[in-house]
Amino acid sequence: MDSTAILKSLEASGLATRIRDALWLFPLIESTHVICLSLVFGTILIIDLRLLGIASTHRSFKQMASDILKWTWAAFALTALTGTLMFITNARVYYHNFFFRMKMLMLVLSGINMLIFELTAGRTIHRWDKDPSAPRAGKAVAALSLAMWIGIIIMGRLIGFTTTRAATLAPPPAGVNFDDFLQGTPDKTGETPTTQPERK
């Protein structure tokens, strides 16, 4: 199967259809994506500033990492999951989007960056754990990490501006909104159009 066929089958999957058809689902998935990415970025910032010797300089790095990084990973897992769910609703468009590709590239690069840390400064933590900043390699990784995560956020925002603009011209779909929720009207999913009502 070529990539277009795979992307098409993702879009046609029951899960993707369900997300497209339900008025609330896409916005809630996107909100969860933002909540989790804000925690990913916020916690990585804390660690990177420690490595750079800018904040929390008097604390043990090991202690900080064990306090924080488990939450970073949990939030990252949820960000990736919600990102995947958004991707499958419009897979071909995202796949060919320049900013989406840049974002994925930057995510891979920040993964490699993290591996570099593990292979360099990460090996000698016992030596600089109480120092106000990491050795030079650790500082370089931290600076790169911050630059890339800021880039990832900017790319992510630009995806929203470049993939769904046309769809915003369409009127919002008829279907379950808050009124129906309050009145307990049953879900009328079959009637809703399959276009994404999203606007950036």
Binding site: P27, A55, D67, I153, F161, F178
Partner: protein, 173 residues
């Protein structure tokens, strides 16, 4: 409000932003997201400290003096970029239910942060020894975090205000 929004959209700054819409709005929104990352990270760690789940080798006061200033600075960034977004797209922002509910929660979230930091400074010993262990205070920490979570959801829902049905003022227009 709709009239005010329409007037705002005729002001100089708004027209400038609309003209350069393609890069101004995404840039400001990106800064707004980076800012909420700093807000969430700071609130998260302070709440974890109150709950006793992290930063336990530091006192409550030490934890808030590490993250409080970052929270304040990030909130100022949020206020500025948020205001610019309102000026850039007044009707999109102001004529929504999500925006106003978000503003109420932002006020509540900020008020809690301010009161917490002031009372902690005044009654430091009492906070460190007894208050921090109180179940009600720990519930408040969780509630505070959830308020910021809701603020993010409502922020995103500004773009999808039709989900509110007739609660959205845009539906009446």
């Amino acid at each position: 409000m709709k009239q005010f929004a329409q007037w705002l959209s005729t002001t100089f700054l708004s027209i400038f932003m609309q003209k350069h819409n393609s890069w101004v709005i995404p840039t400001i929104q990106s800064i707004h997201i980076i800012g909420i990352g700093v807000v969430m990270g700071s609130v998260f760690v302070i709440d974890l400290r109150v709950l006793g789940w992290a930063w336990m080798d530091q006192t409550l006061r030490q934890t808030t003096s590490r993250f409080g200033p970052w929270l304040t600075a990030a909130l100022c960034v949020q206020l500025t970029t948020g205001l610019l977004m309102v000026i850039g797209e007044p009707v999109r922002e102001l004529v929504t239910f999500s925006f106003w509910l978000k503003m109420i929660l932002v006020a509540v979230g900020t008020l809690i942060a301010v009161i917490f930091q002031i009372t902690l400074r005044k009654h430091e010993q009492r906070w460190e020894e007894t208050l921090v262990n109180r179940r009600s205070i720990q519930c408040l920490a969780i509630l505070t975090f959830l308020i910021w979570v809701c603020i993010i959801i409502l922020g995103r829902l500004i773009a999808y205000d039709h989900v509110w049905g007739s609660w959205s003022p845009a539906a009446k227009a």
